[in-house]
């Protein structure tokens, strides 16, 4: 059956058709929907793991146990999962194991722009890269067959424009693969030096065999152009952009396997055209390889290693084409993302701002607390770093009564717990604010161990954040819970815990305003007679409040009636 399908949904469909039995992932844009769609199939056991390392280890265990398994993550998630990734190259699999990793060139929703192909090279693992939804579905199925044939983990690399674009796919029924026998084999699965030495030899031999396969695989293909003046080497998204730009006028070497690269195929292609340009987003991986094997190619001399590509960019840089565009003479103000109206994080950040604290931040919706007018975040590194980095900061500066870490409930479960353990164990002095909105927010509402539900929507044991903090060594008297809508109460609790000389946790708890079960209250209005134009209500940075004719005005289409602005008003003008 033909249908229009999101790239991520097509990957999930591929998992279903390939007979995959287990999916374990941690959400991360742009990879999240793969796991959500996979969970819709009864035949697939699917779960949210607390982080990517755990998820990949679960999937590896399942594959060794004989069932086809999958794990999805965003590019930075692969950093977290790098440990099992590298070792899975040595152990190999039993049933097929595929990792889906989604890069984010252009950083639509990421803290960096890293190129995951480096991981495939470093871990000596094969990597496939589809160009549209149809290839997402087909490549997944091929990856499982190859994973079992070559006894290795496969990586499927996508990027935002593949993961979040819909195109037409043809679906087929699922093919079941019986659970394979598991045989005890420590020389393969127990990675201690004596065994790993033997396995490294296997890894190198396998990579050679995969290179031979890449030379003749239908996943790498040549499309001949009208003449032999120009040939382009493309993969993933850049195939689409190049096709849009050059049409059938040039020759294409479209690589579906981006690691290992096929030296003979590349050389033959280069010899068949007068000029070769490698078109690849982010780093010059294919280009460098071509140069290493002695081919004369161009690439990053024309095209950037920063940001996303487009047909327009290629036309401009390669063909010298300029686009004519209509535009207004006015300056168009930017529209950065903001905390939503009614977002409980707004209350927390308003208090932190008032207390003029140094804030060690983390990854999630609450990273938006860094934006004006709240501007209440000093650092944001990576998942979990708010807690551990604050410990280091405080050890050096010795002003723990002026600093806090801010971390979300899901991020705390992901990698905040170990940082907290480090604080208590090493006699640190730090205040950790857990902004608990009872969901994984930024990626679009995924469950996590503290929400009481599984990915499949079944009730799950509710893991208590308070008890985890207590078990991690924080004195229960200094584990405090406050409602961020009640900013005065939150401020009082924070003042007390900042004054305490030792580890403390303040849980600012209120569900995300976008959750379906959270009732939206009627919009508030400003009484212009009472409004004294003091702008106190503006300090919270709510997108529904603005000033017109020097009076506060609330946009009724945006306001959800949270009353945080009203609590800032000293003249009772907002009701």
């Amino acid at each position: 059956m033909k249908e229009l399908m999101l790239g991520n949904k097509a990957v999930a469909r591929g998992l279903y058709e390939a007979g995959v039995r287990l999916v374990s992932s941690y959400p991360g844009t742009p990879s999240t929907e793969i796991t959500e769609y996979a969970a819709e199939y009864d035949e697939i056991y699917a779960e949210w793991a607390p982080n990517e390392k755990v998820a990949l280890e679960v999937a590896l265990g399942a594959a060794v146990g004989g069932g086809r398994a999958f794990c999805a993550m965003k590019h930075v998630g692969l950093n977290v999962a790098a440990d099992p990734l590298f070792i899975s190259a040595y152990t190999g699999v039993n049933a097929g194991l595929v990792i889906g990793v989604a890069d984010d060139p252009g950083m639509h929703s990421s803290q960096n722009e890293q190129d995951s192909r480096h991981y495939a090279i470093a871990a000596k693992l094969p990597m496939l890269e589809p160009s549209d939804s149809s290839e997402c579905l087909e490549f997944v199925k091929i990856a499982y067959d190859l994973s079992e044939e070559f006894d290795t983990t496969f990586i499927l690399r996508t990027s935002t424009r593949i993961a979040h674009s819909q195109s037409i796919v043809t679906t087929n029924p699922r093919i079941e693969h019986p659970i394979r026998d598991y045989k005890k084999d420590p020389s393969k699965y127990v990675m201690m030096p004596s065994n790993a030495r033997g396995r490294h030899v296997v890894v190198e031999e396998r990579l050679k065999a995969l290179t031979d396969y890449a030379e003749k695989s239908p996943l790498n293909r040549i499309e001949r152009g009208r003449d032999n003046k120009l040939g382009v080497i493309v993969a993933g998204t850049t195939y689409n952009y190049a096709k849009e730009c050059f049409g059938d006028s040039v020759s294409y070497l479209k690589l579906g396997i981006v690691n290992p690269l096929p030296p003979k195929l590349l050389a033959d292609f280069a010899a068949s055209v007068e000029r070769v340009i490698v078109i690849e987003e982010l780093d010059d991986i294919i280009e460098s390889y071509c140069k290493k094997i002695g081919l004369k190619v161009e690439g990053k001399n024309l095209l950037p290693n920063i940001g996303e590509f487009s047909a327009e960019l290629i036309a401009e840089r390669v063909l010298g084409k300029k686009t004519e565009a209509i535009s207004l003479d006015d300056e168009i103000p930017v529209r950065p993302p903001v905390l939503c109206p009614g977002c409980p994080h707004r209350g927390t950040f308003s208090v932190l701002k008032k207390l003029r604290l140094i804030v060690s931040g983390d990854i999630g919706c609450y990273t938006l607390g860094a934006a004006p007018p709240l501007s209440t975040m000093d650092t944001t590194f990576c998942m979990g770093a708010s807690v551990s980095a604050l410990h280091g900061f405080n050890k050096i500066r010795n002003e723990a009564n002026k600093t806090v870490a801010v971390i979300g409930d899901s991020t705390f479960m992901h990698s905040g717990i170990t940082g907290l353990l480090n604080i208590t164990y090493n006699k640190g002095n730090a205040t950790v604010v857990i902004v608990d909105n009872s969901i994984t927010g930024m990626t679009g509402h995924q469950q996590n161990p503290s929400t009481g539900y599984t990915l499949k929507g079944e009730p799950a044991p509710l893991i208590s954040t308070e008890k985890i903090c207590a078990a991690a060594g924080v004195d229960p008297a200094h584990i405090r819970v406050a409602d961020p809508y009640d900013m005065d109460a939150l401020e009082q609790v924070l003042r007390e815990e900042l004054a305490f000389d030792g580890p403390s946790v303040v849980i600012a708890r209120r569900p995300c305003a976008l959750l379906k079960y959270v009732k939206r209250e009627p919009a508030l209005t400003v009484d212009p007679e009472k409004c004294k134009s003091c702008r106190a209500c503006m300090s919270i940075g709510c997108p529904s409040i603005s000033f017109i004719d020097n009076k506060a005005v609330i946009d009724p289409s945006l306001c959800v009636g949270c009353r945080m602005c009203a609590s800032k008003c000293r003249f009772d003008a907002i009701n």
Partner: protein, 193 residues
């Protein structure tokens, strides 16, 4: 024949649903289709754009500057922002809603005035309506995205029935009545223009 349609607005206004409805309608007409969406951070009140492309064969899922046949905009400032993507002779269909971005709210920047008139002055065909009140008339303010589609249906060259079927396929059952009502009011108001 290839058609390039951009849907622009503010994160949370329902551009994903709108793009899915148009993508579905184009698929039903037998075209090759690509729809490119935005998820993640921009959905939190940022400027968002989705692309719907259909025709004989579509390669790139995104639309470049000067290439859009039509821009559907949920918000006036966003119509102005994405105007450079419109091709010469293209059409803008926009809601009349204004949502101030944070730099305007804080007073660092100014929201441009007379956006509709200024765009028209560039020899651009522009259709506009108060889609929020159309959606309210239909029973649910949240259906303003579907009201915008109703406003644009004729200009995009779709049959009303084609779009109705796409709405039925893409909108959750409990919201369907209000969405269909918003579509009909907007479609008829555009036909009366």
């Amino acid at each position: 024949m290839n058609k390039n349609i951009m849907i622009v607005g503010v994160g949370g206004q329902g551009s994903l649903l709108a793009s899915r409805i148009l993508g579905y309608a184009a698929l039903e007409k037998g075209y090759d289709v690509k729809v490119s969406e935005v998820h993640g951070m921009s959905q939190r009140g940022g400027s968002v754009v989705t692309y719907v492309k259909y025709g004989d064969k579509i390669h790139s899922p995104i639309i470049d500057k000067g290439e859009a046949d039509a821009i559907l905009s949920f918000e006036l400032l966003e119509a102005a922002r994405w105007l450079p993507y419109l091709r010469k002779g293209g059409t803008i269909i926009t809601a009349e809603q204004r949502i101030k971005p944070m730099p305007v709210i804080t007073g660092a920047k100014v929201y441009p005035d007379q956006i509709i008139e200024k765009i028209r002055a560039k020899n651009v065909t522009l259709i506009s309506a108060d889609t929020l009140s159309i959606a309210r008339q239909g029973g649910n303010e949240k259906a303003s995205n579907v009201a915008l589609i109703g406003l644009a249906t004729q200009a995009l060259g779709f049959d009303a029935e084609n779009i109705r079927q796409a709405i039925i396929a893409c909108v959750p059952a409990k919201a369907l009545k209000a969405n269909l009502a918003a579509f009909e009011i907007a479609y008829n108001s555009a036909a009366a223009l």
